[in-house]
């Protein structure tokens, strides 16, 4: 009984990029309330070694050196885009469990096992086109493994093009 975990990539940053294409490909961080610390980092910023929840005052110099664009958070926007993503994802399975602002489980019980990866690709394409948010999809027999599969898909450790189905791999 396969389960999918759909997770948005760098969610707050992706929300900002959806409305400002100039931010694509650039190092971007979103700061918490009162611009306290980094609560979302683009892949470019992660590559510079900035950790999650890094206080802004600690990374300010690094930001100047590398042209990191820091944005104040806009939770009204993130909440709205999250609602859209979750609403769209609910159309892909009769059973959805929203896990956080940017993650949800979808029950794929009864779905054709041969085409789960293609299904995952359809999910990715739809969310990217309709809302502008990139997501990855991990598929496995349990929620924990689905989360791991999603991680593999995101970090390109396994799977292809943002979708990883552990059911495609043998036990050995």
């Amino acid at each position: 009984m396969p389960i999918a975990l759909v997770d948005c990539n760098n969610f707050y940053v992706s929300c900002e990029r959806a409305f400002n294409p100039e931010l694509e490909g650039k190092p971007v961080v979103v700061l918490s309330n009162n611009d306290g610390c980094a609560v979302a980092r683009s892949n470019e910023v992660k590559a510079l070694g900035v950790k999650m929840a890094e206080p802004w005052f600690k990374m300010e110099q690094l930001a100047k050196r590398h042209g990191i664009i820091a944005l104040s958070s806009n939770y009204a926007l993130y909440g709205d885009l999250s609602a859209r993503v979750m609403s769209l994802l609910s159309t892909f399975s009769p059973k959805q469990e929203i896990y956080s602002i940017d993650e949800c489980f979808l029950d794929l019980d009864g779905f054709d096992l041969q085409s789960l990866v293609a299904y995952g690709q359809t999910i990715r394409r739809t969310i990217k086109q309709y809302v502008g948010i990139p997501v990855c999809v991990g598929i496995a027999e349990t929620k924990t493994l689905a989360k791991l599969a999603n991680h593999c898909a995101k970090k390109r450790l396994a799977g292809r093009d943002g979708v990883c189905d552990f059911g495609r791999y043998s036990d050995t």
Binding site: P21, L31, D35, A70, L71, S72, L77, D80, Q129, G132
Partner: protein, 146 residues
């Protein structure tokens, strides 16, 4: 800290439960009410009228005069549907060189063209290597007078 509001003041279309406004069958008059009042002809919801795909629909504030010929004026609120596949002739929000712009999308003789609707503006023909991304299709424009 830089504001996260883009110059277009793009707002997500927040679809709240809408109020049904009854469309009455006759004009409002003083005096004895018509028995027909109970037989309301139809209910008009602007949300239903303007929004087909709620999760993929956004409002975008139009800026500038390049689309006046299409009835889009500076300050108008455009209803943009990202779920639609753009066709030649559609008015779209396009991403051109990392900037958002409203133009009519045309393909002609194998070329992709972004056409303004104002003789004071030039059409843009996409060159080899130039990337065009359609952000969404404009399905309607709204203008408030008051």
């Amino acid at each position: 800290m830089s504001s996260s509001l883009h110059q277009f003041i793009i707002a997500a279309a927040i679809v709240t439960p809408f109020a049904h406004i009854p469309l009455f069958a006759h004009k409002v008059e003083a005096g004895f009410p018509s028995p027909a009042d109970d037989y309301i002809e139809g209910r008009l919801s602007l949300d239903e009228h303007l929004i087909q795909h709620r999760d993929a629909t956004f409002f975008v504030r139009a800026k500038g005069h390049s689309m006046m010929g299409a009835g889009i004026f500076d300050g108008d609120l455009l209803v943009v549907d990202r779920s639609l596949t753009p066709a030649s002739g559609d008015i779209v929000i396009a991403v051109l060189d990392a900037e958002l712009t409203v133009k009519r999308l045309v393909w002609r003789d194998g070329l992709v063209i972004l056409k303004p609707e104002n003789p004071d503006f030039q059409e843009m023909v996409l060159k080899d290597g130039q990337e065009l991304q359609v952000w969404g299709v404009v399905t309607s424009t709204t203008k408030k007078f008051n």
